[in-house]
């Protein structure tokens, strides 16, 4: 039984390979034909999706065996002295879940883009990038070792760069793409370092081997170092996720990344790429677990801080995509602190449900933006539900899901995280999480009420989007509603995806009630503020104008970074350039000047008078004769070459 499954799992490499093939086909063959390019790309991703589903079903069927013994296939990739790296695929419940989520959202987004990107000049290029992205992301999910993961991790970043800057003629898009790449690069620096230290210490980057090394001969390994060493490596590795998953203080690129086409935001900057950091921490969880508790506490603290930090900014934003972006940041913080507090399953669960409803909301927002001809300010919108019933309804489902309303998907995952936080002894983090849940519900419903309810704006002539766009919405809405049920009846999700020993935990209905209450409170507050207008948002903002300004300007973090880059980095560059031109080159040119100057002086000896030359000649003869007369032996002693060549 398992053998047959194993045969199936061996073909997992096809899942990333197919989109890559489609990328090559589009880039080299079909790029002139928009229809062909999109068809190739969508066909490839749909095939991958069906393969992913097959593997997912296989995993479910294999059950206990695959949970305990992941199916790993490795092929040697690089083999030199001091560096052996394999490439391979790992199939376990975690990767199967990720494969399903990524292929699903990617196919939905690609189908959706048929409508959204219709008529765009770079249509083929868009699908090429999409295929490349899907391929890299899936390759990353299947990675069996850290280096392989890193390679795809960076390729995902490249695709993100290309897709954010897809409309490269817009200066803002260009700058956003650049910023995204640079910011994540800072994190990658840490990840790279962590990887190097891990390899030098353990001689492998393979997840299974690393885990085994840490588990079995932990004491032997620490002969050289101490537990602190592992902690340092854990912190370094965690720098990567900080950049990729937009944790504070490297979160600044994600809101700007909204300059890309909206489907891209849905796919890359909400559902898949940004959770790569979370996925990495989950894959490397054994490392964080073995490091001193400070590592996990740090992750929990940073995640919680990011969650509330981003949520508070989201309240004061007006751009529909930016609100969603900050919401994404906040939810990523959620997943991160879930890992930090030990809610491994909860984090992965939330990763999955969040992918469904956040992709749904982004695509919904895209639908709105499409209908309103690229207006993005929520105050320019209003009363769209009537005009766009499918978009409106599905968006509402998304809002309920993210607010943690039962029985929508977000409820189950969020509840589990919060319950675990309290249960594992992190009351402060629980409090922060709860408050963030309240804020989330508030700003998401604010968004919904302002955009879809309220008075219509006469200058808008919205109409429902074409089928290619609404069908993905409906499919994602379906998963947002029912996705959470995988936790039932006996927490099956956690049975498959867990770390260490599996503890069966019943759903804590009491705690769940509290978080639902917080969500309801948020929705209610938004309702009375923005629909009933019982509280004037303006007067509140006016009353706390300082706080409002701070939130509106995102705590001035961007400004701070800009200042640092402008003044410190570029300033240093200028200083060093000055140094190079005037000191280093100055010395060189100075030497040249000395040579030239001495040449100018010595030139005068060249009188052109033969008699002078003859005089010097004979004078030199006399001098040399005298030198030899004084003694050959002394001369030979100071012959430098004789010393250099002969010494032994």
């Amino acid at each position: 039984m398992f053998k047959e499954m194993h045969d199936l799992f061996q073909w997992a490499w096809l899942i990333p390979a197919l989109p890559f093939l489609s990328f090559l086909i589009i880039a080299f063959i079909t790029k002139r034909s928009k229809r062909l390019s999109s068809t190739v790309s969508i066909l490839a991703i749909l095939t991958s999706l069906s393969l992913a589903i097959a593997i997912g079903l296989g995993v479910i069927q294999a059950g206990k065996e695959i949970v305990e013994h992941p199916a790993i296939v490795n092929v040697n990739w690089l083999n030199i002295v001091g560096l052996q790296i394999d490439f391979g695929t790992i199939v376990d419940p975690l990767s199967a879940m990720m494969l399903f989520v990524v292929t699903l959202v990617a196919s939905m987004v690609q189908i959706y883009s048929l409508g959204y990107m219709h008529g765009d000049e770079g249509f083929s290029r868009y699908y090429a990038y999409q295929s490349l992205f899907a391929s890299s992301m899936l390759g990353m999910v299947l990675a069996t070792n850290l280096l392989q993961l890193f390679i795809f991790w960076e390729l995902v970043g490249l695709c993100s760069y290309l897709l954010i800057g897809f409309w490269f003629f817009k200066v803002s898009a260009r700058e956003a793409a650049k910023k995204a790449f640079m910011t994540t690069r800072v994190g990658d620096f840490g990840l790279l370092l962590g990887m190097l230290f891990l390899y030098t210490k353990f001689g492998t980057l393979d997840f299974a081997a690393l885990s085994a090394a840490l588990n079995t001969n932990f004491q032997d390994v620490l002969v050289i170092g101490t537990a602190g060493y592992v902690t340092v490596m854990a912190f370094l590795v965690f720098l990567g996720p900080i950049g990729k998953s937009g944790q504070f203080p490297l979160h600044v690129w994600l809101p700007d990344a909204m300059e890309g086409p909206t489907p891209v935001s849905a796919l890359i900057h909400a559902a898949t790429m940004v959770v790569a950091g979370v996925y990495l921490v989950a894959r490397m969880y054994f490392l964080f677990d073995f490091a001193s508790p400070a590592a996990l506490q740090f992750i929990a603290g940073l995640g919680a801080f990011t969650a509330i930090f981003a949520a508070s900014i989201a309240i004061a934003q007006d751009d529909i995509k930016r609100i969603l972006a900050y919401s994404t940041l906040s939810q990523l913080g959620y997943m991160m602190f879930a890992l930090g507090v030990g809610s491994y399953s909860g984090s992965m669960f939330h990763l999955m449900t969040h992918a469904f409803f956040k992709a749904l909301m982004f695509l919904g927002a895209g639908s709105v933006i499409y209908a309103l001809h690229h207006k993005q300010d929520i105050w320019d919108m209003g009363g769209l539900w009537k005009k766009m019933p499918i978009t409106g309804t599905t968006f509402f489902i998304g809002v309920l899901a993210i607010s943690g309303m039962p029985p929508f998907a977000g409820f189950w995952s969020k509840d589990e995280i919060l319950a675990n936080a309290l249960h594992n002894g992190h009351p402060i983090i629980y409090g922060v999480g709860l408050f963030t849940a309240f804020l989330t519900a508030f700003y998401m419903s604010r968004l919904f009420f302002v955009v879809f309810m309220g008075p219509e704006k006469p200058e808008n002539h919205p109409h429902e989007s074409p089928w290619s766009m609404t069908i993905p919405l409906m499919i994602l809405a379906f998963f947002s509603v029912f996705g959470g049920f995988v936790a039932l009846p006996e927490h099956n999700f956690a049975w498959y995806i867990h770390y260490g020993e599996f503890h069966h935990e019943a759903i804590a209905w009491g705690l769940a009630g509290i978080s639902v209450l917080a969500g309801l409170l948020g929705i209610g507050l938004a309702y009375i503020t923005y629909v009933k207008k019982l509280i004037s948002a303006e007067s509140v903002a006016g009353q706390f104008s300082g706080v409002y300004k701070l939130l509106k300007n995102k705590y001035y973090v961007d400004e701070l970074y800009l200042w640092i880059i402008k003044n410190i980095m570029d300033g240093m560059a200028k200083v060093l350039y000055w140094f190079d031109i005037y000191i280093v080159d100055g010395i060189v040119n100075g030497l040249a000047l000395v040579t030239r100057g001495s040449g100018k002086v010595l030139r005068r000896t060249n009188t052109g008078q033969l008699q002078t030359y003859a005089m010097v000649f004979f004078f030199a003869v006399v001098v040399i004769f005298m030198a030899f007369a004084i003694g050959e032996s002394q001369l030979a002693a100071i012959n430098p070459l004789a010393t250099l060549g002969g010494a032994k």
């Binding site: 060249n606 033969l610 003859a614 004979f618």
Partner: protein, 115 residues
Amino acid sequence: MMNLSNLSVGLSTYLLVGAMLFCLGLYGVLAKRNIIALLMSIELMLNAVNINFVAFNRFLWNQKIDVHYLLTGHVAAIFVIVVAAAEVAVGLALIITIYRNRRSTNVDELNWLKW
């Protein structure tokens, strides 16, 4: 240092005569302005060299060598004379040419070798 008996005509004496002629010629080359005087001084130096050739041949060579090669020093002197004759011919022709172009035989003014 100098033994009076050595003042009888030995090799050193010839060599010293040659050296004196050579240095007088050298002085002429270094100190005269007229290019023809330079040429004459050079002839003096060549003569000094010839004296040396012949003197070495006379005093050192004939003790050591097979009789067929006895006059090698003379042959060398002959060649020097040949070269000197050729040199004088060409040199004087050059001087006349220069004089024709420059209206001068003054070495001080012949400094176009300067860069």
